[in-house]
């Protein structure tokens, strides 16, 4: 019954989405009052998908093997949290989560929005319904999560052990909230293009959604990066894997949008550009979903394994992106550009920010899709990885990092205070860092060599907007910006340090023998078998020391039986100045064990930086919400009047 309830809720939600779209179209043909109705429909639609998703969680929690999806992806002996998280660790479940978030976002838009005009809101809710409708169709036709099996098998096939990690519980939902939060920006942009009401008011309505989505995307990417780092046992934090790029592309677009939307909100300028970015940002979310969900990434031929799903998603993508860009082409030209600005102004700075981000986005996009293109055209197989992305996007990212330090010091409209004078101290610090790096490490790679001074410059420059004013009077949004920009510098230091100073050791070690890596001497004390709830393992005991004290690390190799698989569980010890990362490999015929050791100075700064960037976003969001509340205490009355 539970699965059927879930399916029924999904069908009902799809019906309501259709109704919502019809209401919007009706309101456009003859101006009638549908605002209140369409809002209510959006809210109920959101509630129905939430019910549907809750039903899926229940069948997974109960290990109801009569549901095909549970049978394929779960096992009754799994820890409870992974049973629940397993609900979205597969294709159908994750698409249902996607749709739940999509219609949930629509519901919140309908419920809470008071900043947009009624006409634009109705149009936006219609657009949101059109989006949801396509994905409902996709779920109900091509990937029904509630399909039953008869007779019910006694036991499930189990969840991929790599996914049996707390990371799974948080990483995909966070990313999805980010991805799909951008759908509201998309719908608002489409709505505003339809009504022609592209103005500062719209920007202020869109901004919290973009800020929120961007914050969650940042958090999701950072968490995903750390998850890959500790779970895969390869010691790397970013692999330029197409799936990673799929999350990076919406982030880059959202970052650009986040900045241009401020120009629109504050100065009424960059109208067309901002609307286009709003369309692109969610389009990138859909491209990402298509890439990850269609299986097209491993090979064009993998696409053919499940052509229905891939083609369906590609069709949706083509329709939505095509329609939005057509609308943009028709209406974008009619928008009046807002207030003018001079060449040296904050507006120009943000334009440059946007251009650089767009170029980086283009480079990542082309690099990610290139293998598909080549294989489709010539049949040749190739892969594009770190050598391409680092060399082509890396230098641009560094230039951007330096400009991030300068931009916030510019004034709106025209130059008022000479900017370069303010930057003396950051520039001096950067020069000093560069000089020190030549003394300490004469043979550093070019990217970390330039990355360290760029980060120093940015770290010092990013706090300047708070200097010279009473810091506690500064708006929270300014604090958010400063913290996020400072976070970029922190992450950059982590990346540069990691690439310049990581030491690695790979060796066969006998019991009670030592190896050195960086400043550490590491002793293999022993290797013992052990077991967990649903796996057996061998565990090495390593004693690490540098001078005083001993750290004990216990890396494992785990053996799972459902499905049969072996995973490496790295043991990582964090210190203030870096991480010691250890992996146990295979036994050697001599009686020793393969051991892989890394000393990674300051590598944790990468994720601290990412967390700071997200924190900055959250603070800015809070600040915006709070200021509004204070400024306009009458908004509640207005709505219910």
């Amino acid at each position: 019954m539970i699965a059927e309830t879930g399916l029924a809720a999904l069908w009902l939600a799809a019906g309501l989405a259709a109704l919502q779209l019809v209401l919007m179209l009706m309101a456009f043909r003859t101006p009638i009052e549908v605002g209140r109705t369409i809002r209510a429909v959006a809210v109920v639609q959101g509630a129905l998908t939430a019910i549907s998703f809750a039903m899926l969680l229940i069948v997974f929690a109960r290990s109801d093997m009569s549901v095909a999806l549970v049978f394929e992806n779960s096992h009754s002996a799994k820890p409870f949290i992974y049973k629940v998280a397993g609900a979205w660790g597969n294709h159908e479940g994750s698409m249902l989560l996607w749709v739940t978030v999509l219609s949930g976002a629509g519901a919140f838009l309908g419920w809470l929005s008071q900043r947009t005009s009624e006409r634009t809101l109705v149009a936006a809710l219609g657009a949101q319904a059109a989006l949801a409708l396509g994905f409902y169709a996709f779920l109900l036709i091509a990937s029904n999560p509630f399909a039953r099996l008869f007779p019910a098998p006694p036991e499930g096939k189990g969840l991929n052990p790599l996914l049996q990690d707390p990371g799974l519980a948080f990483h995909p939902p966070t990313l999805y909230f980010g991805y799909v939060g951008l759908s509201v920006a998309f719908s608002l942009a489409v709505g505003a293009l339809l009504t022609g009401e592209v103005d500062a008011k719209l920007a202020r309505a869109m901004r919290p959604w973009v800020l929120g989505a961007w914050t969650l995307l940042t958090l999701g990417i950072t968490a995903g990066s750390y998850w890959a780092y500790y779970e895969l046992g390869w010691g790397g934090y970013w692999f330029w894997d197409p799936v990673e790029n799929a999350s990076l592309m919406p982030w880059l677009a959202a970052t650009a949008l986040l900045h241009s939307i401020n120009v629109l909100a504050a100065r009424g300028a960059l109208k067309a550009w901002t609307m286009m970015l709003a369309v692109i940002a969610f389009s990138m979310s859909m491209v990402g979903t298509f890439l990850v969900r269609s299986g097209v990434l491993t090979s064009v031929h993998a696409f053919a394994i499940d052509p229905q799903r891939g083609t369906f998603l590609l069709g949706l993508l083509a329709i939505y992106v095509g329609a939005a860009f057509t609308l943009f082409a028709v209406r974008g030209g009619t928008l009046k550009e807002g207030a003018p600005f001079e060449l040296v102004s904050r507006e120009s700075g943000l334009v440059i920010n946007n251009l650089l981000l767009s170029v980086i986005l283009g480079i990542v996009f082309l690099g990610t899709l290139w293998p598909l293109f080549v294989e489709a055209v010539s049949g040749e197989k190739l892969s594009v990885g770190a050598p391409y992305f680092n060399a082509v996007a890396g230098p641009l990212a560094l230039v951007l990092a330096v400009l991030v330090g300068i931009g916030p010091l510019l004034s709106w409209r025209r130059e008022r205070r000479p900017v370069f004078k303010q930057l003396t101290i950051p520039a001096l610090l950067a020069a000093t860092t560069l000089a020190i790096s030549f003394i300490v490490a004469p043979a550093m790679g070019i990217l970390p060599r330039l990355g360290l001074p760029a980060a120093t410059f940015l770290a010092a420059a990013s706090v300047l907007p708070l200097v010279g004013r009473s810091p506690f009077r500064a708006p929270l949004a300014t604090w958010g910006m400063v913290i996020a920009h400072f976070g970029i510098a922190v992450a950059l230091v982590g990346m540069a340090m990691n690439s310049a100073f990581t030491s690695e050791r790979l060796a066969v070690v006998q019991r009670n023998e030592t190896q050195t890596v960086g400043p550490w001497t590491i002793l293999l004390k022993g290797v013992t078998p052990t077991a967990g709830q649903n796996f057996t393992a061998i565990e090495a005991e390593l004693h690490a020391s540098r001078g005083s004290g001993i750290e004990v690390l216990k890396p494992q190799t785990r053996y799972f039986s459902d499905p049969p698989m072996e995973t490496n569980e790295a043991a990582i010890e964090t210190f203030w100045n870096g991480q010691l990362y250890t992996v146990i490999g295979k036994p050697d015929p001599s009686g020793g064990w393969q051991v892989r050791l890394w000393w990674k100075p300051f590598v944790t700064l990468i994720w601290f930086g990412g967390a700071l960037i997200a924190l900055g976003g959250a603070i800015a969001l809070l600040g915006r919400a709070w200021r509004r509340r204070r400024r306009k205490p009458e908004w509640r009355k207005e709505r219910y009047a």
């Binding site: 991929n160 391409y388 060796a507 050697d588």
Partner: protein, 146 residues
């Protein structure tokens, strides 16, 4: 700046940005994308020495040799027609074994393929997608022999 000029400049800037992105990407893709080759293509000299490429094939029975340092192995990848010797320093993936498929990333150095990574998904059922055809041919060949 007049609003009209301003828009003109913005449009021009956007076009320049797109062009720059495409040019940079093309420049990077031309010599930084790594092609996938089979041992036959390697022996035909398709990959230049030192060029980063991927090599995929079946690990030949009895070809895995452990080197004295305990962490380097040598083995032979074959596609039935040609054989390429491979050297790899590192911990091999769990499902890397003789007689099964593997994809390696690395470069050719003096006739030996020096691999930086060996790719294998952590799944019994996994067959590297690039080897899909190869495995199918392999099976077809066996059926014919019978």
């Amino acid at each position: 700046m007049k609003p009209k000029n301003q828009r003109l400049i913005l449009v021009a800037a956007a076009i320049v940005a797109v062009l720059v992105a495409v040019l940079l990407a093309m420049w990077g893709l031309r010599d930084r994308a790594s092609y996938f080759y089979t041992p036959t293509e390697i022996s035909a000299g398709k990959a230049a020495e030192g060029q980063a490429v991927r090599l995929g094939g079946m690990v030949e029975q009895g070809s895995i040799q452990r080197q004295p340092d305990g962490v380097t192995i040598r083995f032979i990848l074959t596609d039935g027609q040609a054989r390429t010797p491979v050297m790899y320093r590192g911990i091999v993936p769990d499902l890397f074994r003789e007689g099964s498929g593997a994809v390696t990333e690395g470069r050719l150095e003096k006739g030996v393929f020096v691999a930086d990574t060996i790719l294998a998904k952590h799944d019994e059922r996994y067959m590297p997608p690039e080897l899909g055809n190869l495995a199918a041919e392999h099976k077809a060949g066996k059926t014919l022999e019978r």
